[in-house]
């Protein structure tokens, strides 16, 4: 698969440059650098005093990962609690769910500076503000899936619990929660990658420069000279997202014991 994508990229590039294609965009060295140049850039120094690009980017990735992990943890926990509350009460669900949905229609770039300003005024470190912005992007799929998952139990399984005179809390813990896990994990997989995006976007308006967001801003300014550096940063950012995703998939394998055909 990777090979095919590589071939498509390089093929399009070669044809585009050879025939001077102007669509969908002018194809040249700057718009479509060689993939081996992007990867090669990782192992060069952007300027003579700097360490290898890959070292700088991995440091940035570690910083962004810290923000994203905290954001993911806050978003997932908050989303689960909110989802469970909404599942518990139809009235709360009617009252609150529209606002939860509306929260996601507000552009994150508009929210981010406010969060930074608010939290800075109570002396919260900038990277934690970024985590909060990341959480904002993370919690929504978790709320929706928790709500759905907690209602997914078979009605006979609920009758069975009733026959044991189980209370509401027991039904939640022994039946509804385990039933919701496959739903929850599909949401966490989405949220895991969203948390990285959230952290990178969060870094832009909050003048946090140690992360991948800072690196992207920096290399975007020098794109016309060194396009491969921005592309290399993208590769590292994508790798970080994939890593988060795989961690969730691994956790799911450990936790969810279900029939293979039931996996959501």
């Amino acid at each position: 698969m990777l090979g095919i994508l590589w071939g498509l990229w390089e093929g399009l590039r070669a044809l585009g440059i050879h025939y001077g294609w102007q669509r969908p965009f002018p194809i040249d060295e700057t718009t479509m650098p060689h993939i081996h140049d992007m990867i090669g850039a990782l192992f060069q120094r952007p300027n003579p005093e700097a360490p290898l690009l890959v070292v700088t980017l991995l440091r940035a990735a570690r910083f962004t990962a810290k923000e994203a992990a905290l954001g993911f943890a806050m978003g997932a926990t908050g989303g689960f609690i909110l989802g469970a509350l909404l599942a518990h009460s139809r009235m709360l669900q009617r009252g609150l769910l529209p606002y939860v949905v509306a929260s996601q229609t507000v552009p994150i770039l508009a929210i981010a500076p406010m969060v930074v300003v608010w939290l800075a005024s109570i002396h919260v470190t900038a990277w934690i503000s970024v985590a909060v912005i990341s959480a904002y992007l993370t919690f929504f799929p978790v709320v929706i899936s928790t709500l759905r998952g907690l209602h997914a139990a078979d009605h006979r399984a609920i009758e069975l619990m009733r026959s044991y005179a189980a209370n509401r809390w027991t039904v939640l813990w022994k039946l509804r929660f385990p039933t919701s896990l496959p739903f929850l994990f599909s949401a966490l997989r989405i949220s895991a990658t969203a948390s990285i995006v959230g952290a990178i976007i969060g870094e832009l308006p909050s003048s946090v420069s140690g992360g991948l967001g800072g690196a992207i801003l920096n290399f975007a300014q020098y794109y016309s000279f060194q396009p491969q550096n921005l592309w290399a940063t993208n590769i590292v950012a994508a790798a970080l997202g994939i890593t988060f995703f795989l961690v969730i998939v691994a956790a799911e394998k450990l936790v969810v014991r279900r029939a293979p055909e039931h996996v959501a």
């Binding site: 069975l160 026959s163 039946l175 969810v256 293979p260």
Partner: protein
């Protein structure tokens, strides 16, 4: 003393459908009673009223001389549905232990009881399997073990073998009778198979539809224990005929006779 007493029970669902009308029924301790009737006769509804899973619109159900609700709270009955309703994320052993956990048994006592149950339903060696790794018949045996694990005086069964093939069904019928005799419990069994009702029961309650009523009580005087030979006993056929005729008199025109294996020329 009666295990179950139903007096004057009616059930009207929202929308006005009358599922049951004025049902009276006494079930003695140790009986094996089958409820049989066409779909829509309210047999499953009646079973759920006994188990206090739904409330009657009128009348009352008494289990072990207490109101059905109290009996449910006291864990007086175990229930088996048509689907095994096992929890996929639990192993066989932990599925069987579920009601014991809820009743607060400690771990040692639970695992000892689970061992006994595995022997009873002949599933030893499968305790660490997950439900989806078992055949339909084995899943239903786990479900029966779970229902019996806390030693309830009453076993409620809602078409437990309805989804199984004929051979598995006959084998499980035999196992169920063995378990019933070993445990000395009372069984209320919903089915729409005439052969199954006659083979298993000490009494068959024939019901008719719209509104759901009891149309006939038929005592089954076949010798115990029942075996493969019982199914070939002329008395077995007489009783099956009696049940079938009662079903027809009750307007049970949509009873799935073809599923009974006894329906030659009956339609």
């Amino acid at each position: 003393m009666n295990a179950v007493t139903i007096s004057g029970v009616s059930k009207r669902f929202k929308g006005g459908t009358i599922a049951l009308e004025d049902i009276d029924l006494d079930i003695e301790r140790g009986e094996f009673v089958s409820l049989i009737g066409p779909s829509g006769c309210g047999k499953s509804t009646l079973l759920r009223i006994i188990g206090d899973l739904i409330e009657p619109s009128a009348g009352s159900a008494t289990v072990n001389a207490k109101p059905a609700r109290q009996a449910r709270r006291d864990h007086d009955y175990g229930i088996v549905f048509q689907d095994s309703v096992l929890y996929d994320w639990r192993t066989v052993a932990r599925n069987i232990a579920l009601p014991l956990e809820l009743a607060g048994w400690d771990r040692d006592r639970r695992s000892r009881r689970v061992e006994e149950m595995l022997d009873l339903v002949e599933l030893r060696g499968f305790e660490d399997h997950h439900p989806w790794q078992l055949s339909g018949g084995m899943q239903q045996r786990v479900s029966i073990a779970r229902a019996l694990s806390f030693d309830p005086a009453l076993l409620l069964m809602d078409e437990p073998f309805g989804a199984l093939d004929e051979m598995t069904r006959e084998r499980l019928n035999g196992e169920l009778l063995r378990i019933w005799q070993a445990s000395g419990s009372t069984v209320v069994f919903v089915t729409h198979s005439i052969a199954e009702a006659v083979f298993l029961s000490t009494r068959v309650v024939v019901m008719s539809a719209r509104p759901g009523r009891i149309s006939k009580l038929i005592p089954i005087d076949l010798a115990q224990p029942r075996t493969g030979a019982t199914r070939e006993d002329p008395r077995f056929f007489e009783l099956a005929t009696e049940v079938r005729e009662a079903l027809h008199m009750g307007g049970g025109h949509d009873a799935p006779l073809a599923a009974t294996g006894l329906s030659e020329g009956a339609a």
